[in-house]
Symmetry: C2
Subunit: 234 residues, 2 copies
């Protein structure tokens, strides 16, 4: 499988390119609107056709490139059925498998940061969006966030994977790029070392986070798959 | 590809089994609740795993087996995003390809009988649901039906296929089992011989059809993927 990690520094967002070496079909996980040219160049350079953009959730901190990429390259936008983005071309739920040439991608429903969050699992890699971050996790104080639900999602759908499974998050603010299930189970400051559900809920309730600076623009735009007209009128 | 056609005589409904010979993965197109045991026996006999039930639309004349099959066999329910059946596990739109082992199934959006109708195209076969029937077509007087839209769907997404493409409809009331695109383009009494859009709309406006006898039970049940609790309370 072809694999590349992109980083957008303004919002500290990771985007991932996965592709089948044989069929040359590709997907982008969580592409960011401002980096469209970078993705298109990477696809062209490798001789790949973009078939899907996969959203881990409806983001509050950046605008997705899904709509721009579907207009320019004909890719289809994939998002969870309950994420509130009926603009998606393919709405998925837990346990759906997406086949991209020889690459099989399993959808794992991991709500809690938002009620429409999924992780994408393929081979020995899981792309966790804002559910599980490296030594952290997504906040749970907006978009139907729920700390107890996030704890259950991470435990049942991510920590249940083998310890050596690679964890690729949606963001990192501290220079990390990858972790493993084992490392997060042991050391994650909010979840690691067997912290209980009650302890986690208590931690999440006391984060005292600022109002997200991009949410009022990003949310309506992303509910329209990143449609720029919606973004501009927001 | 493994292929079998089932017929449910009470509502004259066709159900189709398609499966990959190698992976032994199967789909059922438009399975009917009352024939669940028949499908399960056929799957077992052939050693197949049911991965998807594919709805061509939300039916008004029979209850889908989608929910029963997903509970009993773990299959996923597939339906068009705009069909009003958010119970579906995978909501699709025009141009999406479903991969079932080596079998590729293309979703073709063919609204007009209802606003959520699709046809499924694989190899040289198209499964047209109630959009195009043999020597007929679906009615357009309920569920956001629209004769002009149905004419466009059939012309752009079905009649645009090669003439020898096999047409497998959702129903037949006259003993037919299969047709071809060429046969329907030439001879279909409502559409054939190059009938204009205006002629077709005129024909559809004057059918004087009775109120569908099962619609008040079938519609709410099918909007819940055939969930029996919903059916019983309807």
């Amino acid at each position: 499988m072809i694999f590349e990690q992109f980083f957008e520094p303004d919002t500290s967002t990771f985007t991932y390119l996965l592709a089948c070496e044989k069929s040359r079909q590709a997907v982008l996980i969580d592409p960011v609107e401002c980096d469209v040219e970078k993705y298109i160049a990477a696809l062209q350079q490798r001789g790949l056709t973009l078939v899907y953009t996969l959203e881990t959730h409806v983001h509050a901190d950046h605008v997705t490139a899904a709509d721009t990429l579907r207009k320019r390259l004909g890719s289809k936008s994939v998002v969870h059925r309950d994420a509130g983005a009926l603009c998606g071309d393919l709405l998925v739920t837990d346990g759906i498998h997406l086949q991209v040439g020889a690459v099989d991608i399993e959808v794992r429903y991991t709500p809690g940061h938002t009620n429409g969050c999924v992780s994408y699992f393929t081979g020995n890699r899981i792309f966790t969006g804002d559910a599980l971050l490296i030594d952290g996790c997504g906040r749970t104080d907006f978009q139907q966030g729920n700390a107890g639900q996030l704890y259950d999602s991470i435990h049942h759908r991510i920590f249940s994977l083998p310890d050596d499974t690679l964890v690729y998050p949606g963001h990192d603010y501290n220079g990390h790029t990858v972790s493993t299930v084992g490392q997060e189970k042991r050391g994650n400051k909010r979840l690691g070392g067997g912290k209980s559900r009650a302890e986690f809920i208590e931690i999440m309730a006391n984060l005292k986070l600022a109002y997200p600076k991009h949410i009022d623009v990003a949310l309506p735009a992303n509910q329209a798959c990143g449609n720029l007209a919606v973004k501009q009128s927001a």
